[in-house]
Symmetry: C2
Subunit: 428 residues, 2 copies
C-alpha cells in the first residue's frame, strides 16, 4: 500500500476540526464506505479456524458463533399441554359437551398411561399429552372448574373442542435437524437459552481479537499523575479501551507513547508478536510532529483522509505484518473512528458485538455540515422520537459525548438540515 497524494486546499470557514491539510474535495478523500471496506479487508484474514474456540454456554455469552448449529432434537420434544386442564379425545365431546369420567392426573415430567375413550385426565402445563388424547380443555371451562382431589372418583362436564386445541405439538418450535442458529450469530440470552433448551452444552465461537492500544503524545499524561502547564490527561486510552472491551475485544494497553518515533516503533515491536491488531491514537495527520506516521515509515501502511467529520485522518496497513489502524488524536474522533470503522467490521466478520441499531429520528434543532463530508454528530435520542444534538461539531467535547446516547449520521452531500428533518441515528 502506498499513500496517495493529498495536496489540495482547505477552507477554514468550514470549521473542520481535526488537524488537516486535506480539504474536503471529494476526489481526494475516500468515502466512509470505502474506508470501512478497507478495514474489513485488513481484518478478514483473522477469520481463521485457529481463531475459534469451544466454550460452555456460560462462557460464550456475548460472543459470535463460528459455525451453524443444527437442532439435535425437536422442541418441544413431545406434544404437551399449553394449559392446566383436562386431556381428552375430542371425539368424546359432541356439540353441547359431555360428562366424562376423571382418571389419574398427568404430572409434568412423566410418561402418562394411554387415555381410555370416554375419560378425561387432569393435565398440567408442559406435561406430555397421553396417547389417545388430542386436545386439552382448560380447567376454567370445566364444570366444576377445578381439579378433583387425587384418588376421588368423579366426573367432569366439558364443552366440545377441536383436535389440537391447547396442544403444543412436538417440533412446533423447532424440528430436529433444522438450523437452530447460523454461523456468525451473536450469542445473547435468547440464543443461549435456545441452545440450552436443545440440550447443547458447548459451542464453537470466535476467539476475541487481542488489540494493542497505544495512545501517543508528549502533551498527554496518565490520569492520577500531576498535570503541568500545557499538558492534558489521556482520555483516549480509557475511552477506546472501554469501547473495545464492550465490543468483546481483549485489550492490551501500553504506556502513553511520546512523540519520538523510534520510541513508538520499539513499543509496537515489543507487542506486535502477541496481538491480532494494533490501534494507535494521534499522530496521523499532516502536522510537523506526527509520531505515528513517522513510526510507520517503511511499513506497509498508508495515511489517508476519509471524507468524514470528525475523524478524517486515518492510518491503515500493517506493522511488521500485524494489522494496524491509526485513529486521530481527539477523543471524539477516536470514538467515531471506532464506531464507524472497527466496530461494524467486527460485527460483520465475527458476529460480535451486535451491530448498532440504526433508526430514523427527527432533529430537535437544525444543523450545518460540510457538504463533501459525512458528518457524525453526538446526540441524545428522546422518548418522543427526536434527537437533540449534544455539543457542537468540535471533536474535543468529551462532556457532550458523555451526555449522548447516539451518533447522528449526516451523509456527504448534505450541507444543512432543519429542525424536524429526519436523520439516521445509531444508538450507542
Amino acid at each position: 500500500m502506498h499513500s496517495p497524494p493529498h495536496k489540495h486546499g482547505h477552507a477554514p470557514h468550514q470549521h473542520a476540526d481535526a488537524p488537516t491539510r486535506h480539504g474536503d474535495a471529494p476526489n481526494h478523500s475516500r468515502s466512509v464506505a470505502r474506508h470501512r471496506a478497507a478495514v474489513a479487508a485488513l481484518l478478514a484474514p483473522l477469520l481463521t479456524e485457529a481463531g475459534a474456540e469451544t466454550l460452555t454456554l456460560r462462557a460464550a455469552l456475548g460472543k459470535g458463533l463460528a459455525s451453524d448449529i443444527a437442532a439435535p432434537l425437536s422442541l418441544p420434544p413431545f406434544a404437551n399441554s399449553q394449559m392446566d386442564g383436562f386431556a381428552i379425545n375430542s371425539a368424546d365431546l359432541p356439540e353441547g359437551g359431555a360428562e366424562l369420567r376423571v382418571v389419574d392426573p398427568v404430572p409434568a415430567g412423566a410418561t402418562p398411561a394411554a387415555l381410555k375413550r370416554g375419560t378425561a385426565a387432569p393435565i398440567m402445563t408442559g406435561a406430555m399429552i397421553p396417547a389417545g388424547a388430542d386436545a386439552v380443555v382448560p380447567v376454567e371451562a370445566a364444570v366444576p372448574d377445578r381439579f378433583p382431589a387425587p384418588g376421588a372418583a368423579s366426573t367432569v362436564w366439558l364443552p366440545a373442542t377441536v383436535a389440537g386445541t391447547f396442544v403444543r405439538s412436538a417440533g412446533s418450535d423447532i424440528a430436529a435437524g433444522e438450523r437452530a442458529l447460523a454461523s456468525g450469530s451473536f450469542l445473547g440470552p435468547g440464543q443461549l437459552g435456545l441452545l440450552a433448551g436443545l440440550g447443547i452444552g458447548e459451542v464453537t465461537v470466535h476467539r476475541p481479537l487481542k488489540v494493542l492500544l497505544a495512545t501517543t503524545g508528549d502533551e498527554v499524561v496518565e490520569p492520577g499523575q500531576p498535570l503541568t502547564a500545557g499538558k492534558i490527561y489521556d482520555a483516549n486510552g480509557t475511552l477506546l479501551e472501554s469501547a473495545m472491551r464492550q465490543a468483546g475485544l481483549a485489550v492490551v494497553r501500553t504506556a502513553i507513547a511520546s512523540d519520538r518515533p523510534e520510541e513508538l516503533r520499539a513499543l509496537l515491536r515489543r507487542h506486535a508478536g502477541t496481538v491480532d491488531l494494533i490501534v494507535t491514537t494521534g499522530g496521523v495527520s499532516k502536522g510537523a510532529y506526527e509520531v505515528v506516521r513517522q513510526a510507520m515509515e517503511g511499513q506497509s501502511a498508508e495515511f489517508v483522509h476519509v471524507a468524514m467529520q470528525p475523524g478524517g485522518p486515518q492510518g491503515i496497513g500493517t506493522f511488521d505484518g500485524v494489522p494496524f489502524l491509526g485513529f486521530p488524536g481527539n477523543p471524539v474522533s477516536c470514538l467515531v473512528s471506532f464506531e464507524m470503522f472497527l466496530r461494524p467490521v467486527l460485527s460483520e466478520l465475527f458476529g460480535a458485538p451486535v451491530a448498532r441499531t440504526a433508526i430514523r429520528a427527527r432533529l430537535a434543532h437544525g444543523l450545518t455540515s460540510p457538504e463533501h463530508k459525512h458528518q457524525v454528530r453526538r446526540g441524545s435520542f428522546q422518548a418522543d422520537g427526536t434527537v437533540r444534538l449534544e455539543g457542537g461539531e468540535s471533536s474535543h467535547l468529551m462532556h457532550a459525548l458523555a451526555g449522548s446516547n447516539a451518533l447522528v449520521q449526516v451523509p456527504a452531500g448534505i450541507s444543512a438540515l432543519a429542525e424536524g428533518d429526519e436523520v439516521e441515528v445509531w444508538m450507542l
Copy 2:
C-alpha cells in the same frame, strides 16, 4: 402482603398461553405499571451506602455511578489550537492580510513563550495558545502553505482573521466545579473517557446485586444429562442467567429444584443469607403442583396476576426477609418478566444496565392481542423501520425468540393492529 382473590372466568378462544385460571378481567389483574412499581418498591431498600464501592475506571465499566462527580479542573485546561497553523494576534492582520515574521514553533505539551507583536508562531493542534496570541490561522491558508524548517529565519503571509478563531478556550468543554456526571449515570466509554480526561482515576459505583436464580420443575433436566420421555432441558436457567449477567448482576445458580416444596424451601434457605434477591422460575400459577407458591407459604409474598401476555402469573415478596420475585415457567415468559419488571427497575434505581431504547416501528404484519392485557411479542426490527413478528404468541417458542432483536409492546386496550400500524418496540 396477602394474595388477593383471583376467581373469575377465562375465555379459551383468547389463546392465553401461560397456565392460568385467572382471566383478563381488568378489575382482578394488576397493570404492568403497577407491578413494575411494586418491584421498584421491593428493591429500593437495596439502594444503600453500604451498597456502593470505589473502583478504578477500568473496573467501573458498565456500572452505575453512586454519586455526582464535579469536574476538578476545566477541559480543556488551557486555551489551545484547534488546527495546525500559526498563532497570531489578530490585530497584526489588517484586512488584506500581512507578512509576519515566523518565530519558534509551539510544540504540544509545552508552555510557550509569549508571542511578540508582529510575529507568528507555528502551532500544532492541541498546543497551548501563547500569551499575546488570540487566534490561529490554519497552515493551508498561509503563503507559503507549510511550516518553515525549524531554526530557518523566515516570514509568512497570513490573511486577516478575528480573535478566537480556531482557538478552543479553557473550559469550553466543561468548567472546573461544573457537574461532570450525575449520580445514577451509566458508565460507558464516553463517561469513563470524560472522567479520565478530568484526571479522575476512581469512582464510587453501585455494587452489583447478587441474585439467587432457582429454576424449578420435575420435568426439567440440565443440558448435558440424558433426556427421558416427558422431560425437557432447562432453558430458563441459561436464558435468565445470561440476561442478568448482561445487566450487570452477579448470579448464583442452584441445581434445578424439584416440585417438592420442602426441598425448594431448604435450597432457598441455604442461600438466602448471602444474596440480595431471589428469583425463581415456574410454580407460580394456579395448577395442582405449584412448587414456588407452596414453598413460599408462611412468607411475606403474594402471587398476583399481571394483565400481561405472556408472563401473567407473578410472585413477589420476601423469603426470610430477602426480596423475592417468582417468574412463570415458560422461557419466553421468563425473559419478558425480566425485561418488563426487573431490568427497568435496575436501570432506574442503580443506573445500570442502560435502559432499553424504545422506538416507534411499523408492523410488518397485523396482529391480535387480548384486549385487557398488555401483550409483548417478539420481533426483528428491520433497517426500513418496520418490525417483523417472530413466532406466535406462545411462550414456549425459543427458536423465534433467538431470531428476535426486539420486544413489541401492544398495550392493554388494543385487540388488533394492522400491517403498517405503529407500535413501540424495545431493542434487546
